[in-house]
Amino acid sequence: MKRFIVKRLGYAVLSLLLLSLIIFLLVRLTGDPSVLLVEPGASKEDLAAVRLQLGLDRPIWVQYGQFMSSLARGDLGHSFYYRTPVLELYLSRLPHSLMLAAAAMAFSLLVGIPSGILAAVRVNQWWDSAGKIFSLLGLSLPSFWVGLVMILFFSVYLGWLPSSGSGTALHVIMPAFALGWYFAAAHMRLTRSAMLEVLGSEYVKLARLKGLPEALVIGKHAFKNALIPVLTLAGINLVIMVNVAVVVETVFAWPGVGRLLYEGISFRDFPVVQATVLIGGAMIVIVNFFVDVLYAVIDPRIRYER
């Protein structure tokens, strides 16, 4: 088990190192950020002064070395645009992203899982069809469109909810729905297929043969086993919701990490983009690491794999 954990840890660190290099190089392919920080037609001297100020005049390997050594000290750099430590910026946005992600995840699980169970139990009946339509719409409709329609209807026409920003529970309702619908659809489909597989298994047949109530068969025996892949996906989706809800956060002017990433990309703010992607990547790697370890704890066959 120890060997397994060390191996997984090694893979995690390697993944993050590779990610740091890829994002460092990729972001520099997008162009010179100093062009956006001066007026069009600025002289070469003005541009050179800005590049010097931002440390972009140094060779790329020197910049990477400085980036990695700062990272080792927990310093994610200074935003070119906001002139603030990136960690400070990120931490100021993170609570909002966590709140939005938690609300969206709660919606996606509370709607996705029960509808998936119903669709599986009432397979090919109208519950199943309704679930399929719900999930098809959730996966197909762009979240920005859903968001704008909700703003128009609930905010402008009905006047029930604030149009944008954050601050109260009412502010989070629309963005959570717009963000959560896609994931509710995904959770619904996975729950349905996992339930169908489990409901066809031998031990469920045995439970029915024993005369157990159907609600007990579904709720206790089938559901618990079907839940494992759904929760695995939910864990990773939570990380995605926290870090990459760019469109929803922009439409609703929600002050989260996704919008910070969008601003970083728009302004060629290299430190912001690097830090946001790295932290998001680190979250996914950590979640995967713990899931792998949990799997190994639950299933001994996994920890002895070569």
């Binding site: 944008s164 002017a253 002050p255």
Partner: protein, 516 residues
């Protein structure tokens, strides 16, 4: 009545009258209420520090609130005295002396003196800092309320660079405070001499300012200003309709029509010196069709500028026939080109292209490149100039334009402050950052005007230069976009359009809410 009693009686009456007048005079109004803006761009802390002003108009959205300048554009006066009461230029054009307004206080109570002016200039490192400092020999504090700038050579554009939004060098910060907190500390808690003091800032989210009752010009009427960043245009409109904001910047096209249709909302266009024009990069290449002046003229006749104005800006924009904005100093008004596709085809035929020709690409940035570029391409194709639109991401566009990598036709746009010579220098003379070519005679005249201190003579030379550019059809002006903004029901004075060539609400101390 004895004399002493008469005197006493007179004194008592005078006192009673004086007291009555004082009681009848209205008490000085205290600032009250809040005005909220939905802002289309993310506010940057560099905008809180005049020393880092980029040569674009957006920082002035904040500078006009937090800070004040020796001289700045105000309603009815493009060069209005503000922290400076007056200034003089020596006969030889080498020295400018500013007399400062006495008793001006910064938000922290420090009194402004000439030391602060000198300090603010010396620490300035924003747009055109290198150019400005290369031309200024020294700045001297003559006395606490007089400061003298000595130039190395006479420079007719000193005030254009120092006293307009071309730079932030004339916007004054408190020396003692900046030296105490440092540049980073200043951006976190800026202190200025403007009508509003800093309260709080959440980067990319919201800026809140509060009225400064010690502002020299007047105490603002509105107590709190809040600038909320709402990147999406539809969401800005929704916030305006709901009354969550009082003013929404940058509302375009069908959404601007919606503002006009909605009772209680007003569409308020503003302008800043911004032109969109076509640059013919291959006019100096004898093998290219674009080298023929008739082809370039045909392009001018082929574009329905009014049609673009109606479709994109609801008719509020200004038609452009030059690459220099009409509001800029030394602008020369070229004769307009009518929309005449027949004439355009005739010119192409005379040039040897009766069936048109393959014209390559029209490159532009993603924003104006599509909104204006698409109709321009359609108009050109209609007369036989078979050209394709190539929108580029903004950074990539400006980099390739500066590196002279863009070919055929480029749709350029600039809102850089300055005057006609600064635009000509960047775009139409040898060595200009975006100049793909030049003419020696124009270069010669440009050098001549750069040293000409007589404004009348300088005007004649610059008119001649612009005429020559027009006659050679070096560019095709298209439009000067209007910046369309939505205003809600609460503002009595919203400040939009009060200052010429300023895109945003200002002066903030003049803003008023209804019923206040």
């Amino acid at each position: 009545m004895t004399r002493s009693r008469a005197c006493g009686f007179t004194l008592a009456v005078a006192l009673a009258v004086a007291l009555a007048i004082a009681a009848a005079a209205p008490a000085a109004a205290q600032p009250s209420g809040q005005m909220t803006w939905a802002v289309h761009v993310s506010l940057a802390p560099t905008w809180f520090d005049p020393a880092e002003t980029a040569g674009i108009i957006t920082p002035f959205m904040v500078l006009y609130a937090l800070h004040d300048a020796l001289v700045k554009p105000m309603p009815g006066n493009a060069v209005a005295p503000s922290l400076a009461e007056s200034w003089t230029m020596s006969k030889d054009g080498l020295t400018y002396e500013f007399v400062l307004r006495k008793g001006v206080k910064f938000h922290n109570g420090d009194v402004m003196t000439a030391e602060d002016v000198k300090f603010s200039f010396e620490r300035y490192r924003g747009a055109s800092a290198a150019d400005l400092k290369a031309k200024v020999a020294r700045v001297d504090v003559v006395d606490p309320y007089r400061v003298r700038f000595t130039l190395k050579r006479p420079w007719p554009d000193f005030l254009t660079f120092y006293a307009t939004p071309a730079t932030g060098a004339a916007w004054i910060v408190p020396r003692k405070y900046v030296e105490k907190v440092g540049d980073d500390g200043f951006k976190k808690a800026p202190v200025g001499a403007g009508p509003y003091r800093f309260v709080s800032f959440k980067p990319g989210v919201e800026l809140v300012l509060e009225a400064f009752d010690g502002y020299w010009r007047k105490t603002p009427s509105v107590k709190t200003l809040a600038f909320r960043v709402i990147p999406d245009e539809s969401t800005r409109l929704a916030a305006l309709k709901r009354g969550e904001v009082d003013i929404a910047y940058s509302i375009t096209g069908p959404l601007a029509e919606e503002v006009k249709r909605t009772p209680g909302l007003t569409l308020a266009p503003t302008f800043f010196p911004f032109t969109v024009w076509l640059l013919f990069t291959e006019q100096w290449d004898a093998k290219s069709p674009w080298a023929d002046k008739r082809v370039r003229l045909a392009t001018n006749y082929a574009i329905d500028r009014q049609g673009i104005n109606q479709a994109v800006y609801l008719g509020y924009a200004k038609l452009a026939y030059s690459f220099v904005p009409q509001g800029m100093e030394y602008f020369w008004a070229p004769p307009p080109y009518p929309y005449d596709p027949k004439r355009a085809k005739q010119l192409l035929s005379e040039a040897g292209y009766p069936n048109g020709f393959d014209a390559g690409e029209l490159s532009g940035d993603m924003i104006y490149g599509t909104a204006i570029g698409e109709p321009v391409v359609n108009y050109l194709q209609a007369v036989g100039i078979r050209i394709k639109l190539r929108p580029l991401e903004r950074v990539a566009f400006f980099q390739q334009l500066a590196d002279k990598k863009l070919r055929h036709v480029v749709q350029n746009g600039s809102g850089a402050p300055g005057n006609a010579p600064t635009r000509i220098e960047v775009n139409a003379v040898t060595g200009g950052r975006y100049a793909y070519g030049a003419y020696p005679d124009i270069d010669g005249l440009f050098s001549e005007q750069a040293n000409e201190m007589n404004p009348r003579v300088r005007r004649q030379i610059l008119d001649k230069i612009q005429q020559m550019i027009h006659e050679r059809a070096m560019f095709a002006g298209v439009i000067e976009p209007a910046f369309l903004n939505g205003v809600g029901a609460r503002p009595a004075v919203h400040g939009l359009g009060l200052i010429k060539n300023h895109a945003y609400s200002a002066p903030y101390e003049d803003l008023k809410l209804k019923g206040k």
